[in-house]
């Protein structure tokens, strides 16, 4: 089998930057505002907000709820 130029994978470096039509994930395109996106897309394209929610929601629903239950436990009567 003979390899030709058509088989070569394009190399991306300083001399060959990415094509303009390739967008960066999580960033608005030129002329577009983040506020124009659907709220669900704004959430899912925000890794830092997702990280915060991923820590906060389990901490509240498991750890904090558990602490509250432990603080509210009553002493045994042992009749």
């Amino acid at each position: 089998m003979t390899l030709t130029e058509a088989d070569a994978t394009p190399v991306m470096d300083a001399a060959n930057p990415a094509a303009p039509e390739q967008s960066v994930a999580g960033a608005p395109e030129p002329g577009e505002r983040r506020e124009d996106w659907h709220w669900l897309q704004r959430l899912l394209d925000n890794p830092w907000l997702l990280l915060l929610l991923g820590i906060l929601v389990p901490f509240l629903s498991y750890t904090t709820w558990g602490w509250i239950e432990l603080l509210l436990i009553k002493p045994a009567q042992l009749p």
């Binding site: 990415a18 659907h38 897309q41 436990i73 045994a76 009749p79």
Partner: protein, 174 residues
């Protein structure tokens, strides 16, 4: 590059078959979520986790008084204790025994208080396969009504050391 980033405005509400599939999956998730608390309260088999705080030493003393007041015999070296029907019974877990052996009556309701004198143990009633954690510092109350007679074995299903495999107790129902 072989991997393309998605276009900027990639979010679209699901349509067609994808919408139907996601809708059905969401409905099933909601059904299963509701089933969990429903079965907890109406399944008739699950403890609500009624627990109180108690010092292990206090619980041990209370158990000893219960045993002395209600002993009716001996079973395999362990006091055989018959609590009053409708009353409270005490079961102490400690390395490596379940103390005492309880003798209950079929059809009567009891409140069994369980705690540990030392470390965490697991109360597993066989062959019913009902399992609860027994933790020092907490009085876990089980409200039970035996529905069949016989000898029921308690095994410890929370590893508690060298004698864990031999930590076996009995509940006798007549």
């Amino acid at each position: 590059m072989s991997v393309q980033s998605p276009p900027s405005g990639w979010f679209h509400w699901p349509q067609g078959h994808e919408r139907l599939w996601i809708g059905l999956a969401l409905i099933w998730c909601l059904i299963m979520s509701v089933m969990m608390p429903y079965w907890h309260f109406f399944g008739k088999q699950n403890s609500t986790g009624e627990s109180y705080a108690v010092h292990p030493k206090v619980f041990v003393e209370r158990t000893e008084r219960f045993v002395q007041a209600n002993t009716v015999g001996e079973f395999q070296g362990m006091p055989l204790v018959e609590p009053a029907p409708g009353g409270d019974a005490y079961l102490l877990a400690r390395m490596w025994s379940w103390y005492p052996t309880l003798k209950l009556r079929q059809g009567e309701t009891y409140r069994i208080h369980m705690s540990s004198a030392d470390i965490q143990h697991g109360f597993s009633l066989q062959p019913m396969n009902m399992n609860f954690q027994v933790i020092p510092g907490y009085d876990h109350v089980l409200t039970i009504t035996p529905t069949s007679s016989g000898e029921f074995t308690i095994v410890c299903n929370e590893f508690c050391g060298l004698g864990h495999h031999a930590m076996i107790g009995k509940i006798i129902v007549e």
